[in-house]
Amino acid sequence: MSVGAPPLSASTLSVELRDRLVPIFGADIAIEQLALLAGGASKEAWALDLRTPQGTRQLLVRRAGGGVIHQGTLTLEDEHRLLEVAAAAGVRVPMPCGYLGEIVGRPAFVSERVSGETIGRRIVQRPELADARAVLPAQMAEELAKIHAIPAERVPFLGGVGAHDVLGRLTNEVDHLEDAHPAIELGLAWARGRAPERNETVVLHGDLRVGNLAVTATGLGHVLDWEFGHRGDPAEDVAWPLVRAWRFGVDQLRLGGIGDVEPYLERYNALTGRHITLASLDYWEIVGNLKWAIGALTQSRRHLSGQQRSVELAVLGRLAAEMEFELLHLLERAA
């Protein structure tokens, strides 16, 4: 992705990588294939086929990207630890295999490589995934229920907690943009005035939505992308997949372009014994749009500052207006 610092070639990476894999998989291993996959903005993802005495393992190496990790993002080491804890709690995650330390100067970890569709637009549209879409809402509720039951003391490195903390972080990020964004200010003012009192605090995935799930023909395979894990109000996580950007064009299905909210919320409440209301989801959906509007502007600054030159990040700065418009639309409805 980065023009300023092109990704390493597989051959440069593989020598150090093999050394780091020996303590995990033993000395009798060989890298059969190593290829850079489509990845997020700040991380590299490498598909690794590793020959071991037990046969070839299909693995994924997550490695830090070029930019400085931004506020609220877990280090690769903490992300790996969170994956381990989530796996132990029965959450469907790609099984973590080990933290690798720095490989050619950047931290990385290795996990199982899972199959399934991850592209949001395909998940909401493809006819062969219709059966999956029918069961996904309940399955998302089930995974969220398991994640929110993870004992916080197992993951003491997670920051966050409460609506006021989320809004404080967002305000801080807005203040780091050099120009003013009155639509975002209006949303922040609305959200501050209605922030729920801090009550229950749980472990949150932080980015569970269509697009961060591996989906197979039968439904939810695995929950991916744990780098935004933090602690907070459970409704923050439950409302996040409602945000319009994550409906991938199927706007009328408020839950991620795949289903209605009510059955999903009922399933979540039944599993957890919580009583999250639709009104609470309305609140956190507005906060979610704020988060992603500010996130898009912040990402574009990575390009503008030269930290990570990328046409994708540059255009994201203009697309923040989509989230601003949705935010204002929701504020009009809430008024």
């Binding site: 992705m1 003013a180 209006l186 046409v311």
Partner: protein
């Protein structure tokens, strides 16, 4: 004065080249996606060249009314943009201070819709 193609026509020529000659030959999905993003970026540029100036004027006029400024709008495009930056900062500060002017929401809906007319017109149509 430059000869034709003008700025919009030049952006369009590059976008059409990307869409018709470059894209069909790209198999790598990551490169394909970024190439589509690049073509979209040129589309934004074309629309900004065509529509940008009057929309900035409209935004500054609306901001001035909202904030109670009576001074005439500058004619110089650079001056007008600086005025837009200043007035947006003033509006943001007033909202932050709890002094949101009456009509701010309606102003912002209209202004952000104008931003989308350049940045993402098809997204705007999804609200009709």
């Amino acid at each position: 004065m430059q000869d034709r193609p003008d700025a919009a026509e030049l952006a369009q020529a590059v976008r059409e080249f990307i869409e018709t000659e470059v894209l069909p030959g790209i198999d790598d999905p990551r490169l394909r996606f970024r190439t589509l993003v690049a073509a979209n970026g040129l589309g934004i540029l074309e629309r900004e060249i065509a529509l940008g100036a009057p929309l900035v004027r409209r935004e500054v006029g609306s901001l001035a009314r909202l904030l109670g400024h009576a001074d005439p709008l500058p004619d110089d495009p650079g001056e007008l943009r600086r005025r837009a930056v200043d007035l947006n900062r003033e509006l943001a500060q007033r909202i932050r201070a709890g002094d949101t002017p009456e009509g701010a929401l309606a102003h912002l809906v209209a202004t952000v819709a104008d931003k989308l007319r350049i940045a993402s017109p098809r997204y705007l149509e999804r609200y009709r």
